[in-house]
């Protein structure tokens, strides 16, 4: 069967999540591949989560937030617009195609835009194919758990 990419989407609660909700409410069809994690603001998305997502087998990650100036918390998205490009350089450094990581602004009223982006991204990842990382297999094992120290 065709390669169904696994995509993780980090959506900010006030704009993109509401936008996605609107898309659903307005019965707009979009690819089911994006699995959504809701954070209060796009600024909450820690680059470690994105790397972790790739480690546990995600083929693509998309981060969505409010348009600049609309952020419910005034400056949250200003931080995201700086973190994601920097993280792309790191991802490229690990040999992962930077197109697998994407940042988009979707406001609460842009239901259709949300659907379009999801479909577009899914096709793009499908064209890139599955992401094979050694860490998926044998490098994963570790017993090192962070534990309280005396």
């Amino acid at each position: 069967m065709a390669f169904e990419p696994k995509i993780i989407g980090f959506l900010c609660n006030w704009c993109s999540y509401t936008g996605a909700d609107l898309a659903g409410v307005s019965r707009i069809k979009s690819a089911p591949n994006v699995r959504v994690i809701r954070t209060m603001c796009s600024g909450r998305v820690d680059p470690s989560f994105i790397l972790k997502a790739f480690q546990i087998g995600a083929d693509g990650v998309i981060v969505m937030g409010c348009h600049l100036g609309d952020c419910h918390y005034q400056e949250g998205n200003y931080k995201t617009i700086r973190r994601i490009p920097f993280l792309k350089r790191l991802v490229k450094g690990f040999g992962i195609d930077p197109r697998r990581l994407r940042l988009e602004w979707v406001s609460a009223s842009e239901g259709d835009r949300f659907a379009r982006i999801v479909n577009e991204f899914t096709e793009e990842i499908r064209s890139l194919g599955p992401l094979k990382l050694q860490v998926h297999t044998e490098l994963r094992k570790t017993i090192h758990e962070p534990v309280e120290v005396v």
């Binding site: 959504v36 209060m40 680059p47 997502a53 005034q74 400056e75 949250g76």
Partner: protein, 586 residues
Amino acid sequence: MVTLKIDDKQVQVPEDTSILKAAEKAGIWIPTLCYSELFEPYGVCRLCVVEAVRGKRSRVVTSCNYPVREGINVLTNSPKIQWIRKTILELMLARWPNVKVVKDLARDVGVEKPRFVSLQRDEAEDACILCGKCVSVCREVVQANVLGFAYRGIKREIALPFGVQSEACIVCGACAHVCPTGHIKMVVEDYKGKKPEFTLGPKTAIYVPTLQAVPRVPVIDADSCIHFKTGGCEYCAKVCEPNAINFGMKDEVEEIEVGQILVATGFDIFDASAMAQYGYGTLDNVYSSLEFEMMLNSTGPTNGQVLTKDGREPRSVAIVHCIGSRDTNHHSYCSRVCCMYALKYAHLVHDRTKASIYQFYIDMRAFGKGYEEFYVRILDKGVKVIRGKVAEVVEAPPAQKDEGSLVVRCEDTLAGKLLEIPVDMVVLCNAIEARRDSDAVRRLFSISKSPDGFFLERHPKLDPTSTMTDGVYIAGCAQGPKDIPDVVAQASSAAARMLSFISKGEVEIDPVRAFVQEEYCSGCKICNSLCPYTAIEFLAEKKVSHVNEALCKGCGTCVAACPSSAMTGHGFTDAQILAELDGIMV
């Protein structure tokens, strides 16, 4: 007490008073020139000489600084004294023929023309006559010690140290004030702009702000009071009988902890000199709205009368709307209140003078309750209301000078005619604009501003009094031009809002917010600059950062940014999100 006779008049005075003071008390006039109440008598002009007769020995002494002695008889007008005064004034007249104070004294003493001509003759009316008053006032009263005498004998002159402007001079003007000939002038070079016709500003360092001030008590302006500069003067303290003046009082800055703040910092009026065509600042009798308001005020400079600059009643007055408002080059917004106060001006000028009144408007905005009726009343009074933007105000050509000193050129758009109306006075309705320091104030309370510069409310319709920052409210023209009733309404709503919080006693905050795990935080301060709500502060003594729960909105930006993951947040810790991540990947 010492008893003595002055021109055979018995006088009793305290121990160390001078003969001059005693004579004054006895109502006897003695000419003085270099004497002044303000400082120790210098006794150099020698005009105040009198004969002090004790027994058979008579001695010519200067009355200004000769202390009275028991039983002496003072002759203030004996032939010898007259002769001395005449000759001394002759000497002075020879050198300074046109100085008014010398000419007057000479005339009083009966000297018309000096017998000789002085080689040092100085024709100037404001020549320096070396009386030394400026030196004494600067040394003893102001205690700035800037002036002094230089050279000796006939070459003696008043001099500044090294002949250059001394930094010790605090430009208090005391020397110019005491100089009997006006030789010392106050020069204000750097002020370029128009000195406003009527200034609210005080004339002296100690003043009563206005007669309607609450409390109506004099106050000292520490910046211009000499005492605060040199420790000298204290003349006001000398003359205040109840001696209520305490120089020790200082402005204090108090720091008070408050829960909520209402920013009602008001507005500035637009500086009309920026629109040269209306002649504000260059032509006489062109007033801004605030200046005209001062003129109308009964405690104002003209006690409420409408007068032109040379004190006449104007025959015709022009009131021009929208100066700086509804103007793309300056402020595109409408200042809302000008139309109504312009009509008020028309009404008051009509009552107080017989002037014909012209009103130039674009749209008459009588928006409030009872406003339209007031407008109709004004029209009934015969005020000529002309729809059209005034093109310019110019000096009347000499021919038309008798009808009005100014000419207003405009186009009456309804009649489609160009008009040139001579008037005696023009009142401009200046736009209301955001205060010049609004940016600084905005940053202080971390509230934002709208494009027109006024403070931005949380929501234009639903929440016009509060701002994005909890606990900070705005009211009045700081939020935008508005009329007094609107201001009152807005202010009361803000006050009510604040009272509701105060009565509730505690502040309800949502659970989702960040906090610092102090055992892991090493005070790298990366999070400090992130929070738009300034909720993160640095505890200097513990050297760790701390989140102020009341201010934190829970966006989590700082949690992501914390390099040691010491910052975490209720409801979205790393572990929770990672668990979600694992969950959805299965």
